[in-house]
Symmetry: C2
Subunit: 534 residues, 2 copies
C-alpha cells in the first residue's frame, strides 16, 4: 500500500478546526454546519469538525451534526492524548471526544523529545503510554482512530528513533493512519518526501501514512504533493489554505494537483469541477476576501491581461494556460485595463455579447477607460460598468433614467441614529422626487432609488445586491482619499453582474455604482444581443 501508489488519496479537511485558527476567522455553529454540508457535497473523505474538549461551541457543532445525514464524508472529532498520569477514561477531554458521537476520531500526540520534556513536562516513556493507551481506549469505544504526530518532522530530524517509537505506539494502540505533521511548517518538499519514505520503510507496506503540512516556507501545497508522490495515502489541509500563521496546505490547490497532475483520484468522479464554487462559498461564510491569485480556483487564476498573451490565445487557447479552467469550475477571462491593447477590448466586448465593435469605437472606449481609471475607477472586476460605458458611446443610446440632485443626511442625537436620502431624477421624461430612510446613508440611497424606479420598472424587486465592497485608494491621504465602490448583484437566478463607482465622496461613488447596477439590469435583457454601432 505504501510504496506502490494507490489510485485513491484520502482527503481530510480541517477547515473547521485548524482553519478556525486563522487570524480574522470566527465561525458560528451555523457557519460550521453550512461549510460541512458543502464539503460533504464536494466529496472529501473526512471533515474534522472541531475539538469538543476545548470549547462548548465545538461540542454544539457535533450535537447538531449527529442529526444530519452525510453522503460522502465522515465527520471527525479532534482531541489530544490523555494527560500524564491519568487513565484515558478519567480525562474530561478524552471523554468529550467519545461523547461527540462520531465514528472517527483524530488525536494528536507529541513526537519530539523537546516538546515532551519542555512543553508537556513529562517523561519520554509516559508520553508513549499516553499515545498508545488513548488510541486503544478510543478503539475500545468503537471508534476508528487517525493519529496526528505533532511536530513529527522536527522530532524526526533530532531523534528519529523516538519519533518512530511515538508512531509505533499509535500503531500498537490501533490507529488506522499515522499522520506526519510539520506543525511549525519549516520543512521543504524533498525533506518531507524523504521522511515519508523513511517512515514507510520502517513500518513496511501494511501501514498507512498521512501528512499534515503548514505553509510557513510557502511550500505547504508542494510538500503535500511531494509526500503523496512518495507514497502517502492521506492528506490533511483546509479550503483556501486557512489556518494559524501562514495557514495549512491549501486543499483547493492540493486536490487539482492530485487529480490533474499526479493522475490519482481524490474526489468522486466529476466532483472536481465544483471546487471553484466551494472555495468561493467557504470564503463567503468565513467572511474573508478570497485570494484572487489562488492557483486553480482564484478569480484571476485564468485571467489574461498582457496584450501579447491575449493575441496569442486568440490563435491557440492553450498558449498561456496549463489546464482547461472548466476542469475546476473556473473560467478564462480577459482583463481590461488602461494598458490594454485593442485586442483585449474587442475580446472583452465579444465576451459581453457586444458584437460589431469597430476600430474607431474601440479606440474611444480605450481612451475613456484610461481617463476613468485615472479618476479611480477600475473596470477589471466590473464588467457591467464596462458594458454600459461602451453602450453610452454608441449612437442613439437612451439612458433609462438620469440623476439630477441628491442629498443624504446622517445624524446621532444621544443614542438615536438616523439616515435619510432624497433624490431627484428623470425617468422616461418625467421628473421624480423621492425620499427614504435607511439603517445607514448607503442603504437610504438604495431604498430611495428603488422607490423611484418601481412605478416604471416593477422588476426592480428582483434585483438584489450580493456584495458591497469599498476600497480606499491613495490611502496616504487619510479620510480625504479617493474611494472606490464595487457592487456585486444578482437577480435570484443564475444572472450576476458587477458595477463600479469612484470619487473622494464615498456616497457619490456609491451612487454611481448603484445607478449602473440598476441601469445594466433593466436594459441588459433586451439589449444583450443587439449589435453595437458607433
Amino acid at each position: 500500500m505504501s510504496n506502490a501508489q494507490p489510485s485513491h488519496i484520502e482527503i481530510f479537511d480541517t477547515t473547521l478546526r485548524d482553519g478556525g485558527q486563522t487570524e480574522g476567522i470566527s465561525y458560528s455553529v451555523d457557519d460550521k454546519l453550512r461549510i460541512a454540508r458543502k464539503l460533504d457535497e464536494l466529496g472529501v473523505a473526512f471533515i474534522e469538525g472541531g475539538w469538543p474538549g476545548s470549547n462548548p461551541k465545538d461540542a454544539l457543532f457535533f450535537e447538531q451534526a449527529r442529526k444530519e445525514k452525510w453522503t460522502h464524508a465522515k465527520i471527525v472529532a479532534f482531541g489530544a492524548t490523555r494527560r500524564a498520569k491519568f487513565k484515558p477514561e478519567e480525562d474530561p477531554s478524552v471523554r468529550a471526544l467519545v461523547d461527540a458521537g462520531t465514528e472517527v476520531c483524530c488525536i494528536f500526540g507529541k513526537s519530539s523529545v523537546l516538546q515532551v520534556e519542555e512543553v508537556l513536562r513529562t517523561t519520554l516513556e509516559e508520553n508513549l503510554r499516553m499515545i498508545e493507551e488513548t488510541v486503544a481506549y478510543l478503539r475500545s469505544q468503537g471508534k476508528r482512530v487517525i493519529y496526528d504526530g505533532e511536530h513529527f518532522f522536527d522530532g524526526f530530524d533530532r531523534n528519529p528513533d523516538y519519533a518512530l517509537k511515538c508512531l509505533g505506539a499509535a500503531h500498537k494502540g490501533g490507529a488506522e493512519t499515522l499522520v506526519l505533521c510539520d506543525t511549525n511548517g519549516g520543512h521543504l518538499p524533498w525533506e518531507v518526501a524523504a521522511t515519508v519514505q523513511a517512515v514507510q520503510k520502517h513500518f513496511g507496506p501494511g501501514v498507512r501514512v498521512g501528512i499534515h503540512l503548514h505553509d510557513d516556507t510557502g511550500c505547504g501545497v508542494a510538500s503535500s504533493v511531494a509526500a503523496i508522490h512518495a507514497g502517502a495515502v492521506h492528506v490533511q489541509g483546509t479550503i483556501n489554505g486557512y489556518g494559524e500563521r501562514c495557514g495549512n496546505a491549501n486543499l483547493c490547490v492540493v486536490i487539482p494537483n492530485i487529480e490533474l497532475k499526479l493522475k490519482l483520484r481524490a474526489l468522486p468522479a466529476g466532483h472536481l469541477a465544483r471546487l471553484h464554487e466551494v472555495a468561493a462559498f467557504v470564503a463567503e461564510v468565513a467572511n474573508l476576501a478570497p485570494a484572487n491569485q489562488m492557483a486553480y480556483v482564484g478569480y484571476s487564476a485564468f485571467a489574461h491581461k498582457a496584450g501579447v498573451h491575449v493575441s496569442a490565445m486568440q490563435r491557440h487557447p492553450d498558449a498561456y494556460q496549463h489546464i482547461d479552467p472548466k476542469l475546476v469550475g473556473n473560467e478564462m477571462r480577459v482583463v481590461v485595463s488602461e494598458l490594454s491593447g485593442r485586442s483585449n477590448i474587442v475580446e472583452k466586448a465579444t465576451e459581453l455579447g457586444l458584437t460589431g465593435l469597430d476600430d474607431k469605437l474601440g479606440a474611444k472606449v480605450v481612451e475613456l477607460i484610461k481617463a476613468k481609471e485615472h479618476e479611480g475607477f477600475s473596470y477589471e472586476a466590473a464588467e457591467a460598468s464596462v458594458a454600459l460605458l461602451v453602450r453610452r458611446l454608441t449612437t442613439g443610446y437612451q439612458p433609462l433614467f438620469t440623476l439630477l440632485d441628491y442629498r443624504g443626511m446622517v445624524s446621532r442625537h444621544g443614542d438615536r441614529q438616523a439616515a435619510e436620502a432624497t433624490i431627484k431624477l428623470t425617468v422616461q421624461g418625467r421628473e421624480v422626487h423621492m425620499v427614504a430612510e435607511g439603517n445607514g446613508p448607503v442603504n437610504a440611497f438604495d431604498t430611495a432609488l428603488r422607490k423611484a424606479l418601481h412605478p416604471f420598472f416593477p422588476q426592480v424587486d428582483q434585483i438584489q445586491l450580493a456584495d458591497y465592497k469599498v476600497r480606499i485608494l491613495n490611502s496616504n491621504s487619510g479620510t480625504g482619499a479617493i474611494t472606490r465602490v464595487l457592487i456585486d448583484w444578482h437577480d435570484g437566478s443564475e444572472r450576476r453582474w458587477s458595477t463600479v463607482g469612484a470619487g473622494t465622496n464615498i456616497l457619490d461613488a456609491t451612487w454611481l455604482a448603484l445607478a449602473d447596477g440598476y441601469e445594466y439590469a433593466l436594459t441588459e435583457a433586451a439589449a444583450h444581443k443587439k449589435e453595437v454601432s458607433a
Copy 2:
C-alpha cells in the same frame, strides 16, 4: 558552477515588469521608481524595469532611471527576439531595448515547436536565427544579455532536442545566463528540478542556468527552491508574488528559503531583515492589500491564536515557530479573539505595556471583546482599540472627550457636490459645537473633530491617518450590511496605531474608529507605562 552549489544566487526581480500584469495593478512611472529604489536598497542583483518597446510609460521609466545612482542592483530592460525576416537593427522593439540605455538586457524567445509554429507562425530554423542574432546584436551594442526561454518546460517535455537548440542559440549569441521559464506554470517541483539537471548535463559546467516560474500549481516558490537545490544560480520572481494569473514565484518567500533553509546567500549580509518592510512598501505602492498569511513576511506569519500554542510558547519560544521572525524583520504576535483564553489576553496586555491585569479584569475584558465582536468589531488588527477597551474598564479612567451629537450631510446639485459635518462634544467639561466641510462625509467628520480638539490639544496637528479601510460584513444584506472601519494612524515618527469601529451606518462606524484614534494618541504617551488596576 552548475552541479556544485555556489554560495551566491542571483536574484532577478520582475515586480515592475511581470508583476505589472497582476489584475488590479496599474503603476505610474513614479510608483515604478519608488519600488526600484526600495529593491536596490534591499540588494537584489537585477531589477527588470519594463518593456520599453511595448509602451511609452516603460520607456519613460528607463529615461528617469538613467538619471539615478543604483547601489546594489543593475536595472534591466526587457524585450523579445527580433521579428521573423527582419534584421535585429531594423526591429523597432529591439531598437527600443538598446535605447533604454541599460547595461543589462533580458530578452525572451520561443522554446517550443507548438509556440513557434502556431503562435509565432514561422519556421523552427528562423526561430533559432532570431534568438542567436538578437542576442549577438545586443552584445555588439555592449550589453550583457540574460536569455529567457519562454515555455521552456512545455517545449522540453514535447521535444527536448529543439528546446535545447533554442537555448544553444542564445548561448552561441553570447547570453550570460540561460533562464528556463515555466510560462504557463503547470509543472511540479521534481519535474522542474529534473529538467534543470538535464539542461546542466547537456551544456556542461561552464553555462549558468536560471529559472522563471509561475504559481499556477501553487508550487512557484517550491519549484524555484528545488531548481536552486538542483544547481540553478539565478532566480526570477516578484515581491509579494505579483504577476499574471496566479502570479510569479514570490521572492519574499524564495529569498528567506535560500538564505535560511538552503544556507546560500541571496542578498548582501544583514539585508534579509529588511524583507518584511519591503513587502509592505510594495503592497502599499501597488495599492493592493498585503496577503496576511504570506510565509515569512505576512502580518499573520508569526501570529498565534490557539490558546494551547500561546501557553506552550510562554514555556518555549520555538514551540510553534520554525525561525526567529526577526530574521526577516517580522515579529511574533498574539491574536486576541472571542476564542482567546485568559493566557492570550494577559500576553497581549503585556505586549501593549499594560501590566497588572488581574484575573477579574481579564475576564471582564474577554467578555466585552466577545460582545463587541458579535456586533461586528474585530480587535485582531486594532490594538489601540483593545488598549482603550481595557483602560475604559479600569477604575478612575476619564475619557478626554465625549461625543454628544453629530449630523453629516452630503449633496449633489447638478455638478456641484458638498459634504458638511456638525459635531457636539464635551472636552474637559466644556461643551464644544463645531462644523466643517470636506471632500466627502468622512473627511468632513475628521476635520470637524480636529477643529474641536485643537484648542485643548494642539498636538492633534501631528496625528495623521495612514490608511482608512472599510470592510462589509454579512455582505448578503447588500447596502444594509454591517460595516467595519479600520483606521491606521501615525504621528510622523515611528509611532503607529490602529483603531476599529463597526455598525450598519458607515459614518457611525467611522466616527467610533476616528474617536478611538485621537483618544489613544492623546492619552497614550502619558499612560503607556502606568499600571492598570481594576
